[in-house]
């Protein structure tokens, strides 16, 4: 799943688009904080991980490579030591005949030269065709011993040379035996066998200068230790840790030893003998600098995360606070605009009412005035003064009404929303009443197609009148004289719908797209505030309804308002 999909699933990108309740700001704040922390901590974490991995790789190579070189070098020295000793034995076998070597004086002389020139030799013996040692020089009494049943004797007869594993001699001292076979005429053969001690191998291991926590030793491929170790036992003990896998080249592996330590094992397999040179180093010691760096990276990461969280919390809190303030200011401005627009509607309403009242008042005024004139003309009119007083009273009352209607024209007051159960058809009729006269004067065909038996709904009468008056006002502005405006109401399932349709100039697609934008108007300058539909949209949304507009340029417009079919008792209950 992509990151955006994941974030969407967590609803982190689903920002509430309307201000208002503190809960929305809390939700917004929470989501922004989580999102900002994620988008800052994830790259930081990735970078820390990549750096740490890269550094560990480099460091590991820097530590392991020299160790492998050391192991390889030491292995070569040991191989050379063994090969050199074997070559000496082989050379003596080639240079001297069986008879010369069978002479113990000769053998003794040769043995002394060998010890003197090469060192490491413990004894030297000549073994005949039948496996019997016919001549021997060394610290033991082994002359006449029969080796025909020994496995090494069969191996040297089949392969020509032999190097043994380490074994404990009669003096309980580790030795390595080596032998070469020589053929003589008649298909017969004899064997020259020498024993060497392991001091030189121990010295080679010591020359690796391993620290006190490390270990270096020789082990056979079946796991028998060939040299003493610090932690894993003595010569000929079984190496308690699994052997590393075979590798032609020096190699390393990481494992846990019998002491429970994490160790790095560097090793090299001998080519012509069954030995493996192993160097064991505890990982803790080896990677001490790495662990230090890892801790430092961890602390830097934690510090970075803490700073990010702190900054994100502070910054988001500040921004949300500013946003909330800005929203509240905007709401206040919109309320003010709406209020102004409401006042403007009330002004129009008042003007309509004043006109309707002023006309009959004018009739009363003129009739009373005429009566007064007639009475004044008749000097002998019975109760002349009384009638004059009466007509004056009528004229004065008319004057009072006149001042009231004039005041009404400038009358406007803030109306609070008032939700009540109302008959939508009644609201339509009341609203149409305000504009009937204008329709009459402009010869407009104002058609009411109101649905029968519509249920009452809980809504605000004043605000609905404002909405319908605005829709009618727009329709009046859109149609020519003698145009047609149709108002329909119907019960459409879970909503009541009111549509205002006109056959006026209609709107282009571009105008329709910007229909609800504040301060957008196609009317001439000074004739429209551009707030009518914006406020209408806001009112309908607040009343829980929705509004839709369809229009075709040159053919007309239909605005439909859908209002929820709930009663006041259902809203409050």
């Amino acid at each position: 799943m992509s990151l955006s999909g994941w974030l969407k699933n967590l609803s982190l990108l689903d920002f509430p688009d309307e201000g208002g309740s503190p809960e929305i700001y809390r939700l917004l704040r929470r989501r922004i904080i989580v999102l900002m922390i994620l988008i800052t901590v994830i790259p930081l974490f990735s970078m820390a991980m990549i750096n740490s991995h890269q550094y560990r790789k480099t460091l590991s190579q820097e530590i392991v490579n020299p160790l492998l070189v050391l192991v390889n070098k030491s292995k070569h020295s040991m191989e050379l030591f063994l090969a050199e000793r074997l070559s000496v034995v082989s050379f003596i076998g080639s240079e001297h005949s069986f008879e010369e070597l069978a002479d113990e004086g000769n053998l003794n002389r040769i043995f002394r030269v060998m010890k003197q020139e090469f060192g490491g030799f413990v004894d030297l013996g000549l073994i005949d065709e039948n496996g019997v040692q016919v001549s021997y020089v060394g610290p033991y009494d082994l002359k006449g011993r029969n080796y025909s049943e020994q496995p090494w004797f069969h191996e040297v007869r089949s392969r020509g040379t032999f190097i043994s594993d380490v074994f404990m001699g009669f003096r309980r001292f580790p030795h390595i035996a080596m032998a070469v076979q020589r053929k003589i005429e008649g298909g017969k053969s004899w064997t020259l066998r020498a024993t060497i001690d392991t001091h030189t191998i121990d010295e080679l291991i010591a020359s690796m200068r391993l620290d006190a926590t490390s270990d270096g030793f020789l082990v056979t491929r079946d796991g028998t230790l060939q040299t003493a170790t610090r932690n894993y036992g003595g010569v000929l003990d079984h190496f308690p840790v699994g052997l590393p896998p075979f590798s032609g080249e020096p190699n390393s592996t990481e494992t846990t030893d019998s002491l429970g330590r994490e160790i790095l094992m560097a090793y090299a397999y001998f080519q012509n003998s069954p030995f493996i040179l192993v160097v064991v180093k505890p990982r803790g010691e080896l990677f001490r600098s790495w662990y230090t760096l890892k801790s430092e990276i961890f602390y830097v990461f934690i510090a970075g995360v803490l700073i990010i969280v702190l900054v994100v919390f502070k910054l988001t809190g500040y921004l949300i606070h500013r946003l909330q303030e800005s929203d509240e200011r905007r709401e206040a401005v919109f309320r003010e605009i709406e209020h102004s627009h409401k006042l403007s509607s009330i002004g129009r309403l008042a003007a309509g009412v004043a006109h309707e009242i002023n006309n009959p008042m004018a009739v009363i005024n003129e009739k009373a005035g005429l009566m007064k004139d007639l009475i004044e003309l008749e000097s002998d009119f019975k109760d002349r003064n009384r009638f004059l007083a009466l007509t004056d009273a009528i004229i004065n009352s008319v004057e009072r009404c006149r001042s009231i209607t004039h005041r009404l024209l400038g009358f406007a007051r803030r109306m609070e929303p008032h939700i009540e159960d109302l008959d939508i058809n009644e609201v339509i009729r009341e609203t149409v009443g305000f504009v009937e006269k204008e329709a009459l004067y402009r010869n407009l065909d104002l058609r009411l197609q109101l649905g029968d038996n519509l249920p009452e709904i809980a809504s605000d009468r004043g605000q609905l009148q404002q909405v319908f008056l605005n829709l009618l006002s727009n329709a009046f502005a859109a149609v020519e004289d003698r145009g047609t405006i149709t108002i329909c109401t119907c019960d459409c399932g879970d909503v009541l719908s009111v549509s205002v349709e006109d056959n006026g100039c209609g709107m282009s697609e571009e105008t329709l797209n910007r229909f609800y934008e504040p301060f957008f108007s196609t009317k001439k300058k000074g004739h429209g505030t551009g707030l009518g539909m914006f406020i209408t949209y806001g009112i309908i949304k607040r009343l829980g309804g929705r509004i839709e507009a369809k229009s075709k340029e040159g053919q007309g417009t239909t605005i439909t308002v859908h209002l929820p079919k709930t009663l006041r008792s259902q809203q409050t209950g």
């Binding site: 002023n358 006309n359 009363i364 003129e366 005035g369």
Partner: protein
Amino acid sequence: MEQIRVLLVDDEEEFTSALAERLNMRGIPTLTSSGGEEALKMIEACHPHVVLLDMMMPGLGGKEIQARIRLNHPDISVIFLTGHGATEFGPECNDYLIKPVNIGELIRKIQSISKKD
């Protein structure tokens, strides 16, 4: 000096009849008309000095009649009588009064406009 002739145009006949009689009683001959078409015919026939016009009437409205008068008889003065408060009467309107009107004020306006003309 020629006597001022007035034509009163309003769709409210109760109003026109009473006001016309009162003006007549005060020496201002006043004819009445209840609609725009009829008013235009009467203007052609008797050529009044002043036309008192209601703003909103079925058919031809006050503004439309005023425009025709301006076109055909620029010498005739027009005073609007309206129930509305602030209404745009246009630059060619001589004056206006809001209903209900005070008869003295109306006569003063008629006389002052006639003198100007």
